[in-house]
């Protein structure tokens, strides 16, 4: 098939975040990671409004957790797509930050043979943050 003309259709969405994700993103912009605490005392990062185990509303307020954590699970991306957070091979990982009881999905920038479950990682912050999950540029090895 011969190449034909191309064009791009864009949908510039502006999404409202609500009281929980909004607070989480405000925290990221300010360089800290916030979680919510369930009635049972577990810390959820990213924060949720409800305890996924019981369905109960979480406690009022937010708790700050560390910017270091542990890779709990991961998948290697050999050929990043245009909109992926990194332009070189990387790992998608579920990272349990120190002080949290749930995991955050983000990219880990490390060589393929260094990525493993149990790997210690820390946040690489973006310099210009705006209140978005991409304020975390990625995680890197501690």
């Amino acid at each position: 098939m011969a190449a034909g003309p191309s064009w791009t259709l864009e949908f510039p969405y502006r999404r409202s975040l609500g009281p929980v994700v909004g607070e989480f993103f405000t925290g990221l912009r300010d360089g800290k990671v916030l979680g919510s605490r369930t009635k049972g005392g577990k810390v959820l990062v990213p924060p949720l409004e409800y305890d996924p185990e019981t369905g109960e509303a979480v406690q009022d307020g937010f708790v700050e957790v560390a910017e270091t954590g542990v890779v709990h699970n991961w998948a290697w991306v050999n050929e990043p797509l245009r909109k992926h957070p990194l332009d070189r091979p990387f790992a998608w990982a579920l990272v349990r930050l120190d002080g949290a009881d749930s995991s955050l999905l983000h990219a880990v920038d490390a060589p393929r043979d260094k990525v493993e479950t149990g790997m210690r990682v820390k946040i690489r912050w973006r310099e210009e943050r705006k209140g978005h999950i991409t304020d975390i540029e990625c995680f890197e090895a501690v």
């Binding site: 064009w7 502006r14 405000t26």
Partner: protein
């Protein structure tokens, strides 16, 4: 994303740009049409059964269920009659390039039996544009005739024609175009 760059306000919104990238694979018939447009020729297919001329060519006659090809190619003129039109008021959404009102028309090309849509009319006050008005093509210079303007999938022309202007001829009588009014 400007609303997200203020540094001390609570973050209440996020921008999410969804892009759909299209690569249009044009049919051989339309590709040939686009090539001919870049050469400055407007071509169509004349049905060997009923004799109707389709511009742009479809590769078949929908009335006769007959396949048409380059053997049935005919060149039509770059003059036309306005069959219907609209004055567009551009809303300033993201990506909008138009600022001022403009006119788009359906045109019946001389020598064609099918009309083309989305043709820009210039050189006349908008309230003087009318059905039956005679127009002529204003062609782009050869280096402005890009492939990107093609792929109209049979309902327009290409970037080879920039717009149309009144030709100065008397208006066409309604009987000549009334079957093509959309």
């Amino acid at each position: 994303m400007s609303e997200e760059t203020k540094t001390d306000e609570h973050v209440a919104f996020m921008s999410q740009m969804v892009n759909l990238d299209y690569k249009i694979v044009t049919s051989p018939v339309h590709r040939h049409f686009d090539e001919q447009m870049r050469e400055g020729r407007i071509v169509g297919h004349k049905c060997p059964s009923c004799g109707l001329v389709y511009v742009p060519p479809k590769g078949f006659c929908p009335r006769c269920s007959v396949i048409t090809n380059e053997d049935h190619e005919v060149e039509v003129k770059d003059t036309a009659t306005v069959t219907s039109f609209t004055v567009v008021t551009p809303i300033q959404y993201q990506g909008q390039k138009e600022r001022d009102e403009y006119v788009l028309a359906n045109l019946l090309l001389d020598g064609a039996d099918s009309s083309i849509g989305q043709q820009r009319i210039e050189g006349i006050p908008h309230d003087e544009v009318r059905m039956g008005m005679r127009v002529k093509a204003i062609w782009a210079t050869p280096d402005e005739r890009t492939e990107e303007g093609g792929g109209m999938r049979g309902w327009g022309l290409t970037s080879a024609v920039k717009h149309w202007e009144p030709s100065g001829e008397p208006d066409a009588p309604r009987e000549q175009y009334q079957e093509h009014v959309l």
